[in-house]
Symmetry: C2
Amino acid sequence: MTSEVVAPVQLDFSSPDFSAQLDSLLAWESVSNDSVQEQVKTIIAQVRKQKDQAVIEYTCRFDRRHLSSMSDLTLGADRLQQALDNIQPEQHSALEAAASRIREYHQHQHQQQSSWNYRESDGTLLGQQVTPMDRVGLYVPGGRASYPSSVLMNAIPASVAGVPEVVMVVPAPDGELNELVLAAAAIAGVSRVFTIGGAQAVAALAYGTQTIPKVDKIIGPGNIYVATAKREVFGQVGIDMIAGPSEILVVCDGQSNPDWIAMDLFSQAEHDEDAQAILISPDRVFLGQVQKSINRLLPTMERKDIIATSLNKRGALISVPDLESACELVNRIAPEHLELSVEEPEAWLPKIRHAGAIFMGRYTAEALGDYCAGPNHVLPTSGTARFSSPLGVYDFQKRSSVIQFSAEGASEMGKVASVLARGESLTAHARSAEYRIKD
Amino acid sequence: MTSEVVAPVQLDFSSPDFSAQLDSLLAWESVSNDSVQEQVKTIIAQVRKQKDQAVIEYTCRFDRRHLSSMSDLTLGADRLQQALDNIQPEQHSALEAAASRIREYHQHQHQQQSSWNYRESDGTLLGQQVTPMDRVGLYVPGGRASYPSSVLMNAIPASVAGVPEVVMVVPAPDGELNELVLAAAAIAGVSRVFTIGGAQAVAALAYGTQTIPKVDKIIGPGNIYVATAKREVFGQVGIDMIAGPSEILVVCDGQSNPDWIAMDLFSQAEHDEDAQAILISPDRVFLGQVQKSINRLLPTMERKDIIATSLNKRGALISVPDLESACELVNRIAPEHLELSVEEPEAWLPKIRHAGAIFMGRYTAEALGDYCAGPNHVLPTSGTARFSSPLGVYDFQKRSSVIQFSAEGASEMGKVASVLARGESLTAHARSAEYRIKD
């Protein structure tokens, strides 16, 4: 049932308790749960020991399936192609259009990530070699949160990076699969799909079984069991960030259509009840107009209950003295999605230090970025844009330092290394370096 | 006491059980310990609640100190400068020489990490903005493992990346501090030092206290409490990889001086009893010569007991049919340090896919890389070079996607986004995109 009143909290930047109010608005912590952690540890230990057999048992139990062999859990390229052939032509071409733009953007990104080196005057060579990972595992949730766009966004950067094999896991509770997800996998170049999920899927990808190959990195969102399992296997394999609820921060000068802004806020709020949609404006009248648009548009929305709960619980309309203060707030919040719905957004861009993705100008709806702008929609949430980046080609590559000393260089540097190694009481280090000092 | 016999295990690539032998040689897993995890969780909770007061209490208890105020735990720039003034002039200039080369290499790396964008024919702009983090925390262990070189290697890339503030924590058990470590901090541009350690230091950096500022990322090695705390706060802040024991893999064509190679193996083995030193060669006679050098040189080493234990427990001499097979093994092992002590190492470089740092040619002792070659000595261990990279400037930067649609672009892409959003039942997304479609 829709809440009677939808009223995102109204905050004023100039109020004395604004800072504390903002902290409380932004506060988010995923519920750490010892019972979940224990279950996950048990599942991982079982999968490491019993391999395929454990995966089959857990899948039958948790996904209510009836099967006895891994081949029942494996989908090959033909099955993915079949899904692609069977979806609506309009959906097929929209997926292809999105994939093509995502591929192009990530190819630009790839060009920024090449090997390099330089030579010093004595002939010593220093540099860095960039190489792709061998194999990556993509986790795709089943059920409500199963999104074909996520398959494109996760798999295409890996493929552009040159990863030879992208393996996907997606649970099929009661045997049900989302055909759009499989079609997206076909377009994105996924090699194989296993219809498994939960901590057992994460464990299988991290350690390998007779059937499921061990991967180098596991990416993709999941529920609390999946997130806990990813944290647990971190180090054994690489993982992406563990995502919190989605958020949008809209900065508007008051000159955009209030309906557009209200709908942009809805587009985050509809994700789930913990999603966060915040609007900042120096124009108080405009904030009131958006509140009116919210009231008018909400009853027309399919997911109005989720939107209402999310806006009432975590939404906000924030009044600021000027756009300068708005930018200061942006950097403090470090939002996943930032819309700069202002005249001349490029003038404000250099002031933005922390944000996952920046949507500039009144036409750049955040929803375009979710599907087909080209940049990745997997973005740092909950303020983690302070220290992390959108998913990208660089997440599927790694670097090796390259060092080649000339005889002269080794002799000179051997003297420096010798002093420092002896200062650390590491005499084998010192003597190894000293062997290369010329008489 | 030195072991009577120092005999790294001898393996043969062509033997039928080689693969299993190699797996067992490489097997390493940090001991997960529920009791440590419980203690760490308690410490973090206390520091979040009691802040400075908890940090002071834990420091008094664990580091056997007697103090009542955070000011007793804080070292400013003057104290660091004093350390720099008081160390031996030879050590001072060696530290400066190393810092200067490390800075230069990382400046080259920095040039690879710039913002970029491109414009499409309808005026739509896509790109990526690269920015430094605001504040980074560097953990430096106290006692035996306290290395000035690590301070340079961790702090300089952050400073080159443009991070305005690098905060360092280093425990002072019984009040003792390493002056070389403080001198290195002065050279590397560390802003402030707090003489605290353990999980309490990690918690203070992750959440902030009245005195200790909250950072965006925590880097640097530590014991099991520190590693567990870093894993626990991962997500609240960024962290670097959790390091395993150090390793070296030497590939030699048999033409290097066996004493040099033996000493290179020692230089890893002396780190600790779990360190791993492996030599691969197609020349069996040479493997025998290195074994003889090991026996002859070992008694002359200061850390002979550690070296002997490490080589007996985790060392190996591996015979391969040819250098091609050696490269195959390298990629399977994904070593932290790789020495290609061969003629024409550049011919083999393109075949190396997974290694933290590659030391090419007979003069490039790994020890030079530990101190002053320029590239970072913080490298992925335990096979994690399959998916991770040396510490670098990129670890202190993050990227924001930049998207600015023209009216035409938004109209065209709005149609694609609408189809895909409706396919995912996200109608607010669809309607937000549809608003931007022209009539």
